[in-house]
């Protein structure tokens, strides 16, 4: 019996976690009312789960295990309706986006639960600064070896997911010039970054045992990697996405990840390559800073390529798999948005341009989340 058993799950099953901002109605700053909202939702029948996060200004929606895009979107819509109703009773607004544009991190309050208090004890101010909002995508794997293979393959697509989801141009009251500024808050944690270059699950378990043996980690939860295996769920978890402004885009990102996973597991087109990780830091930065316009280095062909173009190529490549999974139409729409240069970060900047204040940006983002 391994110390880290991988509980297999239905291959290509799908799930998302969405961290959302809770905003006050009168000044659009972050609220401190996650406890009240979750307590209220606990009385209702809501599909999936609504959970607390490290500070009282955030809640996390968890979908249940889904098979495809349509089912996931329908469930997220039901969750949104429930959250919107409960938040309305408390005069709270709920918004997507990777960061709140102007909140001050020292004002955050930590959720009163032991596990969050221990995060504060361990990480100090990083815990409150971690009031950023991401989408995590889970993809089911039949075995630990598949999970390791898929993690290596999808790492090559990390810049794509960053560019597609980028929705955090503003941070602490300033335009950061980044499309996604959120990941810098994650990078501050000592165990962030990526999984080591291991061949298979056995080798991964060896690495984990070493780290646990010397007391650096206690469980898989302590790794804040961009993509990490989640053995207790039997999934891999993609953690680089900003929470998009709409649940439709959140579902599309998950559908895209599912189609990529389907392609890699079915065709096994490449052997895992260390080069992916050599290029990763550069490619990741380009995506955070410039979004689609960033230029990544394709690790297998060793050539430069615009990230937007790279996304379109990948989508075209996985289309046959998307068709089987029922997400071809959705991915087609996503590709059209990429071609049109649409990003949530761009939309947020446009809202500021129209009115001039970040308060209006938050108000419009909340209106968009409630309806879009």
């Amino acid at each position: 019996m391994s110390v880290l058993p991988f509980a297999p799950s239905a291959p290509l099953s799908l799930g998302v976690e969405l961290e959302l901002q809770l905003v006050r109605a009168h000044d659009h700053d972050l609220a401190h009312e996650a406890g009240d909202l979750i307590a209220r939702l606990a009385k209702k029948k809501v599909p999936g789960a609504v959970k607390p996060e490290v500070t009282l200004s955030m809640v996390e929606l968890n979908s249940s295990i889904q098979q495809g895009y349509a089912g996931l979107l329908a469930e997220l819509e039901a969750q949104r309706a429930a959250v919107r109703e409960a938040a309305g009773m408390l005069n709270l607004r709920v918004a997507g986006g990777g960061t709140h544009p102007f909140h001050k991190w020292p004002e955050r309050r930590v959720f009163p639960a032991e596990r969050f208090q221990s995060v504060v004890e361990r990480y100090g101010f990083l815990a409150k600064q971690f009031t950023v909002f991401g989408q995590h995508i889970h993809i089911g794997c039949a075995s630990g070896d598949d999970a390791i293979y898929l993690t290596h393959m999808l790492t090559r697509h990390v810049p794509q997911f960053i560019a597609l989801s980028a929705a955090s141009p503003f941070y602490q009251g300033e335009d950061t010039s980044f499309q996604s500024s959120r990941l810098t808050a994650v990078s501050a944690f000592p165990l962030s970054g990526h999984m080591p270059f291991v061949r298979d699950w056995r080798e991964f378990v060896g690495y984990f045992e070493t780290m646990r043996g010397v007391g650096i980690v206690e469980s898989m939860k302590d790794f804040y990697w961009d993509i990490r295996p989640k053995p207790e769920y039997g999934t891999i978890e993609i953690r680089v996405c900003d929470t998009p402004l709409t649940i439709r885009r959140a579902a599309l990102l998950a559908a895209y990840a599912q189609a990529l996973a389907c392609y890699y597991l079915a065709e096994r087109p490449f052997e895992p390559a260390a080069a992916v990780y050599q290029m990763n830091a550069h490619n990741r930065f380009e995506a955070c800073r410039y979004g689609y316009a960033g230029s990544l280095v394709e690790p297998f062909e060793r050539r430069r390529k615009a990230i937007g173009e790279d996304i379109l190529d990948s989508i075209a490549h996985v289309m046959p798999h998307a068709a089987r999974l029922g997400s071809a139409q959705g991915l087609g729409d996503l590709a059209a948005e990429v071609r049109g240069g649409y990003s949530d970060a761009g939309w947020l900047r446009a809202q500021r341009g129209a009115s001039g204040t970040l308060g209006d940006v938050v108000r419009k983002a909340a209106e968009r989340w409630a309806s879009g």
């Binding site: 006050r24 609220a31 005069n91 309050r109 209006d360």
Partner: protein, 404 residues
């Protein structure tokens, strides 16, 4: 010698308004700091104690005449507070959450009828009991706003405390105004003026607030969303409306409350920036509490202690009953209703002003009213801020590091 030193002022020097303002400010500052450092009580309590120390029951530095001169400061301070409070009265929230509306109105009516009944039992005349109940319906807007600011409190209890205070102030104004005709008739006024006066006071103030809001929205759109300019705009408009309300002899509090409510609910284009008046507001707050402290009359307390106690207990129970009945339905968490009820305990400057204004119209009636209401204020002035502070801290809505 006298001729030689003609340039020296008379002794003692005349006490003019800037001196009064500055002296009150510093007295409050020092009092607040001492009380906060030594006793770890809210600064407000210190301001009030400083006022008591300066007033007729202390060193006697501040007496009747200054009080009337200082009324301008009181009106400005209350005006600013009522505007900010009005801007927290969000009709959209009340419409979305019906039980919240029921709780807010119930809380006001509960306090009114509880006080009214208690005073009737205590042997007061119905009209007097009614007017005292009307004044007692309102929670002190200054205390709840200032404690909120000092604790940097934010959360459901805080939001609802501010909302309920806005509602109960509005109900108190309306109730007191509607009772005025009866007082008029009791004092044998012409029935026509008895009817027209309250209408003028209420609708005049509301109309003024509405007109001022339209002007401010128009100017805000023209100025754009610049915080520095909007700060001057909003302060300028508030001071102007205070002045206009005084000139027109309508209730300053109603005019500014209406102004704030319209500003919140009529700004469809989101032209106004949400401003915090911060340090500028603090100046007026401090003076308001020092003056309120100086105006407390402990002479009444001796004769009306029983009635004041009945007033306070009935008021609290009336408020709490409605909040406990409807709190959970309106989405308040377990235990929240009790804390919210407690946070709404304070009575302060607004009650004093309401009593003064009634006394100015009907001196004899006013004295009777003052005996019971101001005795209650004298007690709640000291207990109220503590109750609010305790409630918000206990609710976990105060910023942890801050010591108010």
């Amino acid at each position: 010698m006298q001729d030689l030193l003609w340039f020296l002022p008379d002794w003692p020097p005349a006490f003019d308004e800037p001196m009064a303002f500055g002296a009150l400010l510093l007295a409050g500052l020092v009092g607040g700091e001492i009380v906060n450092r030594v006793l770890a009580l809210p600064r407000i309590t210190g301001y009030v104690l400083a006022g008591i120390a300066c007033g007729p029951f202390g060193l006697g530095l501040v007496e009747g005449p200054l009080f009337n001169e200082a009324r301008l400061f009181v009106d400005l301070a209350l005006g600013l507070i009522m505007f900010e409070l009005g801007a927290r009265l969000d009709f959209a929230w009340l419409a979305r959450n019906r039980w919240l509306s029921v709780a807010a109105v119930g809380e006001s009516l509960g306090a009114f009828f509880a006080i009214y009944t208690a005073l009737l039992y205590a042997g007061f005349a119905p009209l007097l009991a009614g007017c005292a109940a009307a004044v007692g319906t309102a929670t002190s807007p200054a205390v709840v706003m200032l404690i909120t600011q000092e604790l940097r409190a934010s959360g459901q209890i805080t939001e609802r405390m501010l909302l309920f205070t806005a509602v109960n102030c509005a109900v108190a104004f309306v109730a007191l105004t509607l009772l005025l005709p009866l007082v008029h008739l009791e004092y044998k006024a012409d029935w026509r003026s008895a009817l027209l006066h309250p209408l003028y006071v209420l609708f005049g103030a509301a109309l003024l607030g509405f007109a001022a809001c339209q002007l401010m929205l128009w100017l805000a759109k023209w100025l754009g969303k610049r915080e520095d300019r909007q700060f001057v705009l909003q302060v300028g408009m508030i001071v102007l409306v205070v002045g206009l309300a005084r000139a027109a002899d309508v209730t300053v509090g109603v005019a500014l409350l209406a102004f704030g409510v319209f500003a919140r609910n009529q700004d469809y284009d989101h032209a106004l920036l949400p401003l915090r008046f911060g340090y500028a507001g603090q100046l007026l707050f401090v003076v308001l509490f020092v003056l309120t402290g100086a105006s407390l009359d402990f002479g009444f307390l001796a004769q009306a202690a029983g009635a004041a106690a009945a007033f306070i207990v009935a008021r609290f129970l009336g408020k709490a009953a409605a909040i406990l009945a409807f709190g959970r339905l309106s989405g308040l968490r377990a235990g929240g209703a009790g804390l919210l009820s407690l946070s709404l305990l304070p009575m302060s400057g607004l009650a004093v002003v309401m009593v003064w204004d009634t006394a100015a119209l009907f001196p004899a009636f006013g004295t009777e009213l003052a005996a019971v209401v101001l005795s209650a204020v004298a007690i709640l002035e000291l207990v109220g801020p503590l109750a609010t502070q305790f409630a918000l801290r206990r609710a976990g809505e105060a910023s942890a590091e801050e010591r108010a």
